[in-house]
């Protein structure tokens, strides 16, 4: 991992304190994001992907404790930055399009005013006229007529609001844009329109983007790198082509099996039996062990380290057998055995 990364996360641990103990939502996660790259962060609900993103922006509640590791942004260690110190970076350098972004618009103000406000808070020197023109340029870029800057949020449809929020997140030209489930609430056609915009924008602006989602097809269509997260840890990180087509980690193989295909041949859908681990008392070894059809005794006791293979990194004890396991994983019975066991 080189210095060219805009964002470097090292062995980060973010744990939520509860009465029952610490919830290990983000547990020893290392990740580096190069300049001008789209990274997809995939995982099921509760796997810690949103916590990880909020940790970057320092918008976690006080019950979440930093218990090790570091975050380096653009060469500066921001691990111990306070909420206040982060103000200079938040939105300006790292912005976020949140899951419920459509509700992030204030219904009492014109959308244009809200975008201009955002610009003027961070760039004091910019006058109102220039800020408005800037906003108009971005509106055009996300595919909305700039005249509609004068509209109120309720005059926009869901897809347009989402695009307006994307414009708002990009308007300061940040180095990193985090999009948390940017299309989950939208229909296929509108989803495709939004994904198209995100990709176009990324090509025009040499920033990086992290797309957090549970939908691997969204990642496949917009990202070049993908990180698969499970139970607070990363399972596999690598180029989209590698990880989604020939995954090395059994969890990633399971995800690939579970995805219904629309155009290809109709294979039987295979779900991963069981449910995600309890993050207060996680398994001692690999987090995926309870649901993994290929578990060994070693998996139960020892936490697998991230190891490189080809161009990707995988945390699995049976990485060397990945080729064979991939074949086996296509068989439904392998997974069913685990369910009945």
């Amino acid at each position: 991992m080189t210095n060219s990364a805009i964002l470097q996360i090292d062995h980060l641990k973010m744990h939520f304190k509860t009465q029952a103990g610490y919830v290990r939502s983000v547990d020893d996660v290392s990740l580096s994001l190069p300049h001008n790259t789209n990274l997809g962060l995939v995982g099921e609900s509760g796997c810690g992907k949103t916590t990880l993103m909020k940790a970057l922006l320092k918008i976690l509640p006080p019950t979440c404790h930093h218990r090790g590791g570091s975050i380096t942004f653009d060469g500066t260690d921001i691990t111990d930055y306070s909420y206040k110190q982060m103000q200079a970076i938040r939105w300006n350098k790292i912005s976020m399009i949140s899951q419920s972004a459509m509700n992030a618009l204030d219904p009492a103000y014109r959308i244009g005013e809200q975008i201009v406000e955002t610009i003027r808070i961070h760039r004091r020197s910019v006058n109102k006229k220039a800020a408005w023109d800037h906003a108009a340029a971005y509106f055009e870029m996300v595919g909305i007529n700039p005249d509609r800057l004068k509209d109120y949020p309720h005059q926009f449809s869901g897809g347009m609001k989402q695009r307006a929020v994307i414009a708002m997140a990009m308007v300061l030209e940040p180095d990193i844009i985090i999009a948390d489930e940017p299309t989950t609430a939208l229909d296929v056609v509108i989803q495709a329109q939004i994904l198209e915009r995100l990709k176009l924008l990324q090509e025009k602006y040499r920033g990086s983007m992290i797309i957090v989602t549970h939908d691997i097809s969204v990642v496949a269509q917009t990202c070049s790198l993908v990180a698969v997260m499970y139970g607070g840890k990363l399972m596999e990180v690598g180029p989209v082509n590698q990880v989604l087509k020939s995954p090395n980690h059994p969890y990633a193989m399971g995800l690939k099996n579970a995805f219904p295909s629309l155009l290809g041949e109709k294979k039987s859908l295979i779900s991963i039996p069981g449910s995600p681990p309890d993050l207060i008392h996680p398994p001692t070894g690999c987090r995926f062990v309870e649901r993994c059809p290929f578990e060994t005794d070693k998996c139960r006791v020892q936490v697998p380290e991230m190891q490189p293979v080809d161009s990707s990194w995988t945390a699995c004890h049976r990485l060397s057998e990945a080729e064979a396991l991939r074949q086996e994983a296509e068989d439904e019975n392998i997974w069913l055995k685990k369910e009945t066991a």
């Binding site: 609900s45 056609v189 495709a192 691997i216 087509k245 859908l269 991963i272 995600p276």
Partner: protein
């Protein structure tokens, strides 16, 4: 009563909601045509898919079929009985026969009822069995939906269950009355990918085993492909194409079907979606375009499409389309 081959049949279902708009002095009554002439049939042990964008009227259609709203036009039959005429006792027995599974298992279960109470409620409402029999039924349905061992789940509240388990409870609640007709409204879209397949298979298995007529409402065609043999595509309150799911996907007769299929993002990074075949967003149901209702967004629209609404045309066995493209050569 007419001879009935289908468990559920709808003929020209219509639901128009009046809305008043305009200023205080200038009131003009507008009509939102949420459902505007929907006809469909479902046989026993069959699941029909109903797909379309949000706002196309698919949820309203399913609620009409459950007799939750009064119809403004058309007829709906369940086992040959016109459901809009049902009252009192007959209505109650229809309720027993027609059940629904909702999209969000977090919302559809009462947070104050544990699993046992949730499942016992329908039985108490319909006065089925004594306490011991009810208990027996609850245990057996829980085993059927895969909540095993049942005893371990009986006393749990919804917040103590995972999303998949909640949806299984919701399925158990719908099936415990042994209905003839089951509507599933986006049954897995709130669930994690890794467990979706399990729920889908469970639904499929139970619908076939119990000889239920199923209707699965979803915006996700790839999902319907796995659950339903036949699918109807809905656009702005009307069904524009109905046919076997597989041929619907392969042959893509209607331009809207084609556009929908092309917009679905693919999990393979090398295969790109395509957006060229559809423009803009779905128009409002209170302002439906003249002629063919898809004409304003259609990439194959012809002159006639803007003036005259198309009639359904049979294009294949069990497959019909409402589009002018096919009206001239086959009719």
């Amino acid at each position: 009563m007419i001879e009935e081959n289908y468990a559920v049949r709808a003929v020209n279902l219509e639901k128009h909601f009046p809305v008043s708009s305009g200023g205080f002095f200038n009131r003009n009554q507008q009509v939102v045509k949420a459902v505007d002439g929907v006809s469909l049939e479902i046989s026993k042990a069959e699941t029909l898919g109903l797909a379309g964008e949000s706002g196309c009227g698919k949820t309203t259609t399913s609620k009409l079929l459950l007799n939750l709203y009064p119809l403004t036009g058309g007829k709906a039959y369940c086992n040959g009985v016109d459901i809009s005429t049902l009252k009192g006792k007959d209505l109650k027995s229809f309720r027993r026969n027609a059940q629904m599974i909702f999209q969000d298992p977090y919302e559809s279960l009462n947070p104050r009822f544990n699993v046992r109470v949730t499942l016992e409620e329908p039985l108490i409402i319909h006065k089925m069995g004594d306490e011991a029999e009810r208990h027996q039924r609850i245990i057996s349905i829980m085993n059927e939906v895969g909540l095993k061992p049942a005893e371990q789940f009986l006393e749990r509240f919804p917040h103590e269950l995972s999303g998949g388990q909640r949806q299984r409870v919701a399925i158990a609640r719908a099936l415990i009355l042994e209905p003839d007709f089951l509507i599933a409204d986006e049954p897995v879209s709130m669930l994690d990918l890794s467990i979706r397949a399990g729920i889908l298979k469970l639904l499929q298995k139970l619908i076939e085993k119990k000889q239920i007529a199923g209707l699965c409402v979803s915006h996700d065609l790839s999902l319907l492909r796995y659950l339903c043999k036949r699918t109807a595509i809905m656009y702005l309150g009307r069904i524009v194409e109905t046919g076997p799911t597989e041929s619907l996907i392969q042959k893509r007769y209607h331009p809207y079907t084609e556009a929908l299929l092309d917009a679905v993002p693919h999990p393979d990074p090398d295969k790109k979606y395509c957006l060229d075949k559809i423009k803009g967003e779905i128009p409002s149901a209170s302002n439906i375009p003249e002629g063919c209702r898809f004409s304003s967004r259609c990439f194959k629209a012809m002159e006639i499409c803007f003036h005259q609404p198309p009639r359904p045309v049979v294009v294949d066995e069990n497959h019909w389309v409402e589009c002018h493209l096919y009206m001239s050569n086959r009719s």
